[in-house]
Amino acid sequence: MRIDLEDLLFSRDSFTLRGSGTFGAGVHLVSGPVGSGKSTLALLLAELLQPGSGAVRRHGVSSALLLLQFPEHHVTCPTVAEEVRSWGLAPEDVLLRADLVGRGDDDPFHLSRGELRRLTLACAVTRNPDLLLLDEPFSSLDCVAKREACRTIEERGAGITIIFSHERAVLPRVDAVWEIEDGALTPRGSVPDAIPLWRHAPPYLAYALREGARPENIRLSDAREALCRIRG
């Protein structure tokens, strides 16, 4: 199971995005500053946008799902329970997973953006597609909810998961890191070898590297462990 980007080029007005590479099974993090083109790449990979040239080729991927940057854009029903059913899922399981038990009759727009984010993430993960694209899945979440979201992503055993995020504090365990910079998607490689090559790595990883530590993954706990190892 893999996604190949073949000389992908997308242009709109003065914005251009280009990139090549392969997303294999596992969790990938595509990082980059706000406005760098992460959402555009997510839409291209979801085949909701067509590239100007080049191609996105899916191999062995039978189902794909994109979680949009703004969770309210997913809402198509007037109650939370109906909203879950519109994803083809049973409300009870999903509401439990999203920590929204008893809110089934509420208007989805009466949920906070963080609650709506939890709901859409729970729906997407429960659907368990081969390709799961998560556009800024940690935005609008508090630290506890971010950690819970990370755990949910890490627990997804199979398939390709691609996270598009500028988050620099709470991140999940990933298999590969990519960066978008100056309109170009650059693969940094597999973790942990990718960490020293990650130009805009979170401050705690940069600090660990400066201290001579070699974190095994990109989480704060990995940086702490690596620092503990060298300091005894």
């Binding site: 799902l65 854009h73 198509t76 007037p78 083809g88």
Partner: protein, 217 residues
């Protein structure tokens, strides 16, 4: 048409003509062919054809029941084409400018502001329908009769909430009533000609055809 005053005048007169009689509607269609960018001012084919299909279905029902189905089809099509032309040509702030020019900074400003908010709302609805289309595609829902009702409810609720938010925002910014703007308009000589010609369909619709043409037989 550059001048929004003349554009809105022409649209109002032609709409009345098209609504009043089939002859007025045919004349309004002729005016539309001569004085508008025609196909360049139309919405996407999918939107246009679905609107025409709705009109045609109603016209068919009317004709089937012995009503004036064909006349309804012609009149409503003329109104639809005029509406899409005015919507495509109207730029932000123009309706407010025309309302203030016509009715002053108090009543005119109020009416203009409401009209501007309505026009902005149409653009927002279009965006939201597009977002819902994407959301449905992501969820694997095929557009159909069963999905129309929840979508319409969600759309209406969102619009009511947005209107409430805008009202609160106006209050927070200290808005009470009226405002002061000095609108400026530029008119092309062709605008004046087109506006004068727009009166002809209105006259045709208010007169019997026998009074205008000598009909054979």
């Amino acid at each position: 048409m550059q001048d929004p005053r003349l554009r809105l005048f022409a649209a109002a007169v032609l709409s009345l003509a098209a609504f009043a009689s089939t002859a007025g509607a045919v004349a309004a269609l002729a005016w539309w062919l001569f004085f508008t960018p025609r196909t360049k001012a139309l919405p996407r084919p999918g939107v246009l054809f679905s609107l025409i299909a709705m009109i045609a279905a109603t016209a068919l029902l009317s004709a089937w029941g012995g009503g004036p189905g064909l006349s309804y089809l012609i009149r409503m099509t003329a109104l639809l084409l005029l509406a899409t032309w005015v919507y495509a040509e109207t730029e932000e702030g123009e309706v407010l400018g025309v309302a203030v020019w016509a009715l002053g900074n108090r009543v005119g400003f109020e009416i203009g502001l409401i009209a501007e908010m309505g026009l902005t709302g149409l653009a927002v609805i279009r965006q939201e329908v597009e977002q819902m289309r994407v959301a449905m595609a992501l969820k694997g829902i095929r557009p159909g009769v069963r999905s129309v009702v929840p979508l319409a409810v969600t759309l209406i609720v969102t619009q009511i909430r947005r209107a409430d938010e805008i009202a609160r925002l106006l209050v927070v910014r200290g808005y009470t009533i009226g405002g002061r703007i000095c609108p400026r308009f530029e008119a092309d000589p062709l605008d004046v000609l087109a506006s004068i010609m727009a009166v002809i369909p209105a006259l045709l619709s208010s007169l019997s055809l026998r009074d205008v043409f000598i009909l054979v037989g």
